[in-house]
């Protein structure tokens, strides 16, 4: 189609592109600032008054301090454990539930779906949940306390159910003819054909565990169990410099204090920022609209 661009079209495009460049700057710059600051000379950062467009000098002492800090190392190790075990349990449970609810000829499908969807809109609240886990199940300082209560996220369950329902029924019929039972249909037919949705849901769960702090805050008294985010909270928000500079000799404390928090933010954030762009083209599989409805 050959239609001439009018003057308003050109103005529209210029304004639109300019605004979108603004979007890039607004979302990217805060993290860039942190990155520049983390590599900067701590002394110069303290007296600097303004934006950064490159590190002031270049040093990695802040990172050296971070990786010598025993609290951060333990937090990192704990977080990896919660992410791996938690996501594995999440995916196992969610996949089973989504498969069961995606089968059309199951008698109890509708009542079960209703009972599950209802939990999206009504909950007993924080306190009964806390009392259940902390008192009834006696899970204070039990690593499973940050994993089991969130074993299934209902939104993720519905996303997978929608994806599983999208697999052509003919494939399932064919497998059933060959004598396949539900377990082999799930693992050999449904899962291989739903990998994009499974990838997105795995990412959601993993990022959720990586970023979680609240359950750990209310269920853990023992600092040795703290995930990275709780250590971060103490350092970034409660401004606990003792934790921040643990493992550093007294003379160095002064000199790295100004940049160390930036290095910590980078260390805690980079792993996720490296992963999500690769799954970006699947994100649309992870949105759900009208999927709540039966």
């Amino acid at each position: 189609m050959n239609i001439r661009r009018t003057r308003t079209d050109v103005i529209f495009d210029v304004v639109n592109y300019a605004l979108l460049v603004g979007v890039i700057i607004i979302t990217l710059y805060p993290i860039l600032y942190v990155a520049f600051a983390s590599f900067s000379d701590p002394g110069r950062i303290q007296s600097w008054r303004g934006l950064l467009f490159a590190p002031l000098g270049f040093t990695i002492t802040a990172y050296e301090t971070v990786f010598r800090n025993p609290f951060i190392l333990t937090g990192y190790r704990n977080t990896l454990f919660y992410v791996i075990l938690g996501t594995a349990i999440n995916m196992f449970m969610t996949t089973l539930g989504a498969y069961a609810l995606s089968r059309q000829n199951v008698l109890w499908r509708r009542p079960l779906s209703l009972l599950i969807v209802f939990t999206l809109f009504f909950s007993g609240g924080l306190i009964p949940q806390f009392l259940l886990v902390a008192k009834t199940l006696n899970m204070i300082d039990n690593p499973l306390a940050v994993i089991l209560p969130g074993a299934i996220n209902t939104f993720n369950l519905l996303i997978l159910r929608t994806a599983f329902e999208g697999v052509p029924p003919a494939l399932e019929e064919a497998a059933r003819m060959d004598g396949a039972n539900d377990w082999s249909i799930l693992f050999n037919v449904i899962i291989p054909l739903s990998l994009p949705a499974l990838a997105v849901v795995t990412l959601f769960y993993a990022v959720g565990h990586w970023n979680a702090f609240f359950s750990a805050l209310i269920y853990f008294r023992n600092v040795d169990l703290y995930p990275l985010q709780l250590i971060l909270r103490q350092i970034l928000i409660s401004n606990d410099t003792q934790n921040m500079t643990a493992g550093t000799s007294a003379g160095d404390v002064e000199s790295v204090a100004a940049t160390i928090k930036y290095a910590i933010i980078m260390v805690a954030t980079i792993p996720i920022l490296l992963i999500y762009p690769f799954l970006q083209r699947f994100f649309v599989k992870g949105v759900l609209v009208g999927g709540v409805k039966e």
Binding site: M1, G125, L131, N211, F283
Partner: protein, 309 residues
């Protein structure tokens, strides 16, 4: 052809179980999970009507009827909590709800695929950053000696204490929330736009419709059902702001504008051990949300529009 009578419920249940044994086996952990961690707390929520003493257990604690609710409604914090929760939520609906729609429409007008990709990738990024880091950044950037004051050229006493001044709290909270989610939120609208028939745009161009006309007459009507559905969901969550960000961002200096229902439940319940009162507050919150959700859904359905259920 003779009609066989429908099998009795008992027969149907038995046949269904034989056919779907594998599926019911899969459902065991799922049903146990929902029963224990979702319906268990709903059962436990009855402590809102009791004077709960942990040593006595739920059933052993004295029944007090509506006393906990009355105490909350008559308490000095009730109106403050309600106002703050509503204000933050309404501000977020007003400014935060249209933001991803606007971004999606702007992205749809971009012809360069690479540029579009670039904007998408960067604008999704904040969504994946943890709330601890977000609040850490806010506290660092908006501190008296922080980046924002520096960039504004404020020195000495003219420096603004954004984090200790109640007037700035709502803007900080809502603004950072929008920053974090508007990019990611645009995905669903972009998906919705991509299902609009491209011929509509071609026809409009032939008729001489400009860009704005195309946006208002094709794009917006095309994604209207998506907008309505998400709006109903959003209204249904009008009072359900979680406590996670609040308990990290607020401090006693700004409680006046910062304290919301969920942060009060956390402080009063988990930290101070006033379980029954806090459980009552939680139930109140949940019920109000349910009422909003059903109202929004019914209004939308009556007007012949989209509905959730």
């Amino acid at each position: 052809m003779t009609r066989t009578p429908p099998p009795s419920l008992g027969t149907r249940i038995r046949k269904d179980f034989q056919r779907n044994k594998g599926i019911y086996l899969m459902l065991i952990p799922v049903v146990l999970y929902y029963a224990l961690f979702h319906y268990g707390p709903m059962y436990g929520a009855q402590i809102a009507f009791r004077d709960f003493v942990p040593a006595r257990g739920i059933e052993g604690s004295t029944w007090v009827g509506w006393d906990n609710f009355k105490e909350f409604f008559n308490g000095i914090y009730f109106w403050r909590l309600l106002r703050n929760t509503l204000a933050i939520s309404v501000l977020d609906v007003i400014f935060g709800f249209p933001a991803p729609i606007l971004l999606a429409i702007m992205l749809n007008e971009v012809t360069s695929i690479r540029f579009k990709r670039l904007v998408q990738t960067t604008s999704y990024m904040p969504f994946f950053i943890s709330v601890v880091v977000i609040v850490g950044l806010l506290i660092d950037f908006f501190a008296r000696d922080g980046l924002v004051n520096n960039v504004l050229g404020r020195t000495g006493d003219a420096r603004i204490g954004f984090l200790s001044e109640p007037n700035y709290y709502w803007a900080l909270y809502v603004g950072s929330g929008i920053w974090q989610t508007f990019g990611y939120g645009s995905i669903i609208y972009l998906a919705s736009i991509s299902s609009i028939d491209p011929q509509l745009y071609d026809a409009a161009k032939v008729d001489g419709a400009g860009r704005f006309r195309q946006i208002f007459n094709i794009t917006l009507p095309g994604i209207a059902p998506t907008i309505v559905t998400l709006f109903i969901l959003r209204i249904g969550n009008i009072l359900s702001i979680g406590s996670e960000k609040t308990i990290l961002l607020y401090n006693p200096l700004v409680y006046q504008t910062a304290d919301i229902i969920s942060s009060y439940v956390f402080r009063n319940g988990v930290l101070n051990g006033d379980y029954s009162l806090s459980a009552a507050v939680g139930i109140f919150n949940s019920l109000i949300n349910l009422a909003f959700l059903f109202t929004a859904n019914a209004l939308s359905r009556r007007r012949g529009g989209t509905s959730l259920f």
